[in-house]
Structure formats: structure tokens, C-alpha cells
């Protein structure tokens, strides 16, 4: 159905691609102001669509179309401060922009060049206002090789991608390199899979190329199920062509002609943008038959996931692609030999694919200079939780956790104390303060008992209970376990029961050791990585925060004040002015109003520990014990 409209401006050679690129660039005046509005999912939640519409309308109303461009782009990464607006070419950075600010931005900044002070970002450490985007500390230390173009292109316009050099790598690979040379380059670059395992990409490709069979499949894993991580979504949503370009090059290298993008249905904007990108690439002849006149055919189709974490596992994902239940299988035979429909299949993650055009364009040597000896290139992290600058950061491998959390992330909000950072999602672990100077790379994180995973980084402060966190992940994994193998299905259930007992005051001497023993069984006996890595959150929290487990078991106390059964809410009488807000908020009428200026009284019998009073009190007159 989509193929009908081809022919229009189909490119039949790399030279033609370059001519089209030149004419696109020529039409664009680099000095013409361009208002870029971040339109990632995060900013959508802030209402960026309305801001973008207001800009377009204002420009039209004032008849400024010839003087200024308005562009909605992919995610810029600094989600904490959305809606983000950057005015190019000067890169003036405005944050928390609302519809009401739009006319002033046009009349003052765009037309007169004046800076609007109140929309600038203030560095909380120095109190100084920052005007230009690259000088914001959040961006300053980043190395945005893969993610950087997000801010320059409208993901729904292929011409924007061509204008920043898009599909040049494809032309180079198809016409100047043999498939073996492409694989050699990727191998030499040292690129390792960004989806979690960190398997060397080039070696995987080589195995798939060598596998017997004429039909081979290419898959992009965009089933980002790791809770608290969203870099893959922002990348494929903000720069879908970079992922497609990587996939086409990969298909050429391993000899595949059909590709699939398996994407979470919870990411509607990403699904839409990828659909548009595929259609546009097909129209240009960059996808489909005889790509760029090279004789190479490759087409891509989208499959939406159904919300199952285990489908991020390659064999489960492939089962789901076949219309079956997403259960993994034992991988005595690798999926590169027998994957989808039993054919050799090469699966890589979104970020891995997006790295490929860079490597082909700039060479393996350039790429291998970035990072650490064992982990090359950059990695995008989703820096979230109890951190001031929530957002996506792309840093060279080897940067320390401290730099990421404190220099880029701006530290912990409300002056609280840092407790730990959880990396690698449910398969990873919690890393304590004592290891903050650990360089972030695949091997170092594994040594610490955690893992790189797909790049989630959840920061936790003193108010987070580590036993509760372990229980949270085990609970999550129990729900997501497909149930096929016993160690994972039953083991996680038992672990959850033990952890629940501990958090509810029924912990026993020996529980910690039992958890450790059970963990060994899961690690050794599970069918797939979901079960084999599931104990990581438990083992790391025991390893680094054993005293918290012991406080729950021996003293029946939750030091962080999280576990409901082990805490009580108390009114601090000297701080309570009797305003009555908590009285209204309490769903069980456990708090009694005693008259103005008199502290309220909390009846522990009636209290269900819902925390409503704590949330509503502005004076900090309620404490958790």
C-alpha cells in the first residue's frame, strides 16, 4: 500500500542523493533564526504542542514567515525543564516556556535580539543565569554524538535528516564497501550492544552473515521495557532515520532483505514517527527495492509490542513477531543462526543501530578513540529519580557516576543525602555512595554486581528504602516472568514473599541467607536472562545495604520511613498551627481538628498510613518514624 507513491523523487544513485542534499542545504539560510521546540514525550506532557502551535500562529499573524522558521524537533533531553525552546543559530536557551511567553519571545528575542531573563536557566550552584544552550551545565559535559541531532531535525521530515548529512553512510556502505568490509569496520570500532548484554556487535553480524540460509532477518529491538529508562524511545522518536539508516547498513552487511522494528505500544508518538520515516525513506528509494540504484533490496515493517517486559529478550521478541506468546527459548542455537521463523536473524537495540552510520561515516578508529579500553563510544543514560536535572544524557563511556549524577544531574533535590543509584533496570543493581567514582562502562558495572543494561540510572536518596526497592523489582519481575521455567517462576515468587515478610515486620533470622541461596538457583537455573539477572537488585542491596535489611528484621524498623507496617506518622506539635489541611486530606478521619493555633491530634488506631497528611502539610509538621 505504501509503495504506490514511489517514483516521485526516487533517488537512483549516491550522486543524486548528494545533489538533493545540496539543494536542501542551499535552500536553507544558516543565519535565519529558527525557533526549535522540543516535542518529545516529556515535553508533550508539559503541553509543548500548544506552545508550538502558538509560535506558528504568531509568526503567521505578524507575517514573519520569511524571517523566521519554526521547527518542532525530537527530545532535547533536559526533560526536567520542559517545554524547551532553543532559538538558533545563536542557541538561546529558554526553559519552562508557556503559551503566554510566545509573543514576547518573537517580538523581543527573535526580532530585536533581546534576552528574556525570566525564561533563562539558572545554575543552582552559582545562581547565575545562562543564556546559551551549550553552556548549561547539563549539556556542557555531554558528548552528544548519537543524540545531538535530535535538536536540529523535525523527525517527520526526511529532508531535515538529509540536511545534517543523513544517509551518507548508507551511500558509502553500499557503493564503496563490501559487506565484509562493513562488518570489519564495526568489529574494529569495538561497538557493543546497547540493549543490555553488551555483546560485540560486529561479531554478532559476522555470525549472522556466515549462518547458512538465503533468507535472513534484521530486527530493531525498541521494546524498551526497563522501567525508568526512555532513551531508546527518545532516539527513535526524535531521529528515526538514524535508526533506519543503521538497519539498512546492517541488512546489507549480513545479507538480509526484511527488517522489523518491534516497538512498545506505550510509545504512540514513536510509533507514528517511525511510520512516517519509513514511508518517506521508501519514497526516496532509500528503502524498498534497488536502494539508491545499488541492486540491494530491504524493507522494514513495524510490530507493536503488547506490554511484556520479557519481549525485550531476543528469542521471546521473535516468538511474539511470529504471532505467538512471548516466551523465550533455550539458546543452545543462537538466534543469529536460527531466529525468526527459524531463519538467521540479527537483532540489535535502537541505540546500537543509531551508532552504525557514525562508525561508517567517520571510521572505526575515530569511534574507538572514545571511551574505555573495553567499552567504546558514548552511552545515553536516562537520569531519573531523586535528581535535580532529570533527563537524557549522552556521555563518553568511562565517565564516573559522580560526574553524571552531580555535574550533569545537578545532585539531589531538597538538600537530601544521596543513597544509591540503580543502573541496568530490573536486571541491574543498586550502587552505593562509596562506589560513586566508578567509571561507567560495561565491565566496571558488572564487577560492582550491577550492569549497564539499556541505560537506566535511577537516583535514590535517604528517603528511599533499599529493601523496598529490592521488593519493587522482584515484584515487577514476578509479574513479568513468562512462567516457562521453574527457577524464575517459583523462585521469584518465594523471593517476593520473603521480601514482603521483611518489609511487613515478619522477617526472620536467616532470611537474608535464604535470599542469597535462592538467588544462586535463579542465576544458574533460569532459561533466559530475565531470571538469571533477576537477583541482582536483591544481591546488591544486601551487599551494600545489609544494615537496612537487618534493621527491618531485628529491630522491626524501616530506617528510611517507607515500609508502611513498620512506620507511624506523628504530628510535631510545636510545628503544627492547626490549619486543618491534613484533617481534610485524611480519608479515614484519623486526624481531629482542635481549634485554630492548636496542634491537631492523630489517632493511630484509625490511621491507614496513606501519607495524605504528609503530602499536604506545607510546614513539615508531620514526621515519619
Amino acid at each position: 500500500m505504501l509503495g504506490k507513491e514511489q517514483a516521485l523523487n526516487r533517488l537512483s544513485s549516491p550522486d543524486e542523493l548528494e545533489r538533493v542534499r545540496k539543494s536542501i542545504i542551499k535552500q536553507r539560510d544558516p543565519d535565519k533564526p529558527c525557533i526549535t521546540i522540543c516535542s518529545g514525550t516529556g515535553c508533550h506532557a508539559y503541553g509543548c504542542e500548544r506552545v508550538a502551535a502558538a509560535f506558528k500562529q504568531e509568526v503567521k499573524q505578524q507575517g514573519l514567515e520569511a524571517k523566521v522558521d519554526v521547527r518542532t524537533t525530537g527530545c532535547h533531553g533536559f526533560c526536567e525543564r520542559g517545554t524547551l525552546v532553543v532559538i538558533k543559530p545563536r542557541n538561546i536557551f529558554y526553559q519552562r516556556v508557556k503559551v503566554d511567553d510566545v509573543p514576547e519571545i518573537i517580538s523581543e528575542t527573535v526580532l530585536k535580539g533581546n534576552i528574556i531573563d525570566r525564561l533563562l536557566y539558572t545554575d543552582p550552584n552559582t545562581g547565575k543565569k545562562i543564556v546559551y544552550e551549550p553552556e548549561v551545565p547539563f549539556y556542557k559535559k555531554q558528548k552528544r554524538l548519537v543524540f545531538g541531532n535530535n535538536g536540529y531535525i523535525d523527525p517527520t521530515l526526511i529532508d531535515d535528516y538529509l540536511a545534517v548529512g543523513g544517509y551518507a553512510a548508507l551511500g558509502k556502505a553500499l557503493f564503496k564497501m563490501s559487506p565484509e568490509e562493513v562488518i570489519g569496520e564495526v568489529k574494529k570500532s569495538g561497538l557493543r550492544g546497547r540493549g543490555g548484554g553488551g555483546f560485540p556487535t560486529g561479531i554478532k553480524w559476522e555470525a549472522c552473515r556466515r549462518a547458512e540460509g538465503d533468507t535472513k532477518y534484521i530486527i530493531c529491538n525498541a521494546d524498551e521495557g526497563d522501567p525508568g529508562a526512555y532513551m531508546d524511545r527518545s532516539l527513535i522518536e526524535g531521529n528515526p532515520h538514524s535508526v533506519l539508516e543503521g538497519m539498512i547498513i546492517g541488512a546489507y552487511a549480513v545479507g538480509g532483505h526484511q527488517g522489523y522494528i518491534y516497538i512498545r505500544n506505550e510509545y504512540p508518538l514513536a510509533v507514528r514517527n517511525v511510520q512516517i520515516a519509513i514511508k518517506q525513506a521508501e519514497e526516496y528509494g532509500l528503502l524498498g527495492n534497488n536502494i539508491l540504484g545499488s541492486g540491494f533490496d530491504f524493507s522494514v515493517r513495524i510490530n507493536r509490542g503488547g506490554g511484556a517486559f520479557v519481549c525485550g529478550e531476543s528469542s521471546a521478541l521473535m516468538a511474539s513477531l511470529e504471532g505467538k506468546v512471548g516466551e523465550p527459548r533455550a539458546k543452545y542455537i543462537h538466534t543469529v543462526e536460527r531466529g525468526l521463523w527459524d531463519k538467521p536473524t540479527n537483532l540489535n537495540n535502537v541505540e546500537t543501530w543509531a551508532n552504525i552510520p557514525l562508525i561508517v561515516n567517520q571510521g572505526a578508529d575515530w569511534f574507538a578513540e572514545i571511551g574505555t579500553p573495553g567499552s567504546k563510544g558514548t552511552k545515553i543514560f536516562s537520569l531519573v529519580g531523586k535528581v535535580n536535572n532529570t533527563g537524557l544524557v549522552e556521555v563518553p563511556m568511562g565517565m564516573t557516576l559522580r560526574e553524571v549524577i552531580f555535574d550533569l544531574g545537578g545532585g539531589i533535590p531538597k538538600g537530601k543525602k544521596f543513597k544509591g543509584v540503580q543502573t541496568g533496570g530490573p536486571s541491574g543493581g543498586v550502587i552505593p555512595e562509596s562506589l560513586l567514582d566508578l567509571p561507567v562502562d560495561f565491565d566496571e558495572l558488572t564487577k560492582a554486581g550491577s550492569m549497564m543494561g539499556s541505560g537506566g540510572m535511577i537516583v535514590m536518596d535517604e528517603d528511599n528504602c533499599m529493601v523496598d526497592i529490592a521488593k519493587y523489582f522482584i515484584n515487577f519481575l514476578e509479574g513479568e516472568s513468562c512462567g516457562k521455567c521453574v527457577p524464575c517462576r517459583e523462585g521469584l515468587k518465594r523471593m517476593r514473599e520473603i521480601l514482603t515478610d521483611i518489609t511487613e515486620g515478619r522477617g526472620k533470622e536467616g532470611d537474608i541467607e535464604l535470599l542469597e541461596r535462592l538467588s544462586t538457583v535463579l542465576i544458574d537455573g533460569s532459561l533466559c536472562a530475565l531470571g538469571a539477572t533477576a537477583p541482582n537488585p536483591v544481591l546488591t542491596t544486601i551487599r551494600y545495604f545489609r544494615d537496612e535489611y537487618e534493621a527491618h528484621i531485628k529491630d522491626r524498623k524501616c530506617p528510611a520511613g517507607v515500609c508502611k507496617e513498620l512506620i507511624t506518622y506523628q504530628i510535631i506539635e510545636e510545628k503544627c498551627p492547626g490549619c486543618g489541611l491534613c484533617v481534610k486530606a485524611c480519608p479515614t478521619e484519623a486526624i481531629t481538628f482542635m481549634g485554630k493555633k492548636k496542634p491537631v491530634i492523630l489517632d493511630q488506631e484509625k490511621c491507614i498510613k496513606c501519607g495524605a497528611c504528609y503530602d499536604v502539610c506545607k510546614l513539615g509538621a508531620i514526621k515519619v518514624e
Partner: protein, 156 residues
Amino acid sequence: MRITAKQLKQKTKSILDNYQRDQGMLVSILQDIQAEYNYLPKKVLVEVSQALGAPLSQVYSVATFFKAFSLEPRGRHLINVCLGTACHVRGAVRVLEAVERELDIKSSGTTTDLKFTLETVNCVGACALGPIVIIDGEYHGQMKTDKVKALLKNYT
């Protein structure tokens, strides 16, 4: 809004045709059907199984395996409380409990008047705004227990 049996058949047929009755697209087909009816009626599952030439047991197992599917009718408004890790560390459980109390249903339940269905989701990737509650696709960030009542009042 009741859908007649004939309309049901027609719609299902057109969704199946969109995917060329390809068995590999089963998940997507079920998603489109659910988007249409807000759940997966039994009749439709039978039809899908026949059209794709896949055993009903396979269609059923896929429909029950994935969290996104419901075999029961759901409320007019779908509430999703995000329980991703970032939301969890910022107190999402307390928000979920507040919604449960307010509607007097548990997670994955539907109110008796079919007004609301309450579900949880494992991360929507808008972590900067956590805890986050999504109602009918609209994001409500930085939720707190005391904001729940007012938020739900906006829906009729």
C-alpha cells in the same frame, strides 16, 4: 454506544485486511481491535482465529499473555498510574492507593458504573514528571495524593 453484531464483523474484517491476515501481526491486530472496542470480545477472538488460520488457543494465549489486553469491557475512561522505577521512588504507590480509595476499586478493576478502569503501567518514559497519572492518553505529572480527587472530578 452499543455496536451491532454486523458492525462488529465489518470492523474486524477491515482490521484483519489492513494486515493482510498475516499471523505474524496478531499482536497488532488485537491492539487495533482493542482500540476500537476498548476490550477483546470473545466473538471477535473466534473470528480472528478463523481468519488467520490460527488455533483459538493461540489467539487466546496471546490475548492473555500481554498486559495491554483485556477480555472484559472497560470503563469509559482509562486511568493508568505509572509504576516505573522513577515514579516509584517518588511515591507512585501512595498515588495509586489514593486513586483506589477514591474510586473504591483495586488496580485493574472497573467501577460498577463503567466510568473508570484503573490500570498500572511499567513506565511511560516521562520520568521527569513522576509520579505520573495518564487518563485517556493525557499526562498528569507531579501527582500527589491530595490532587487525585480534583483530577478525577474533571471526568464525566
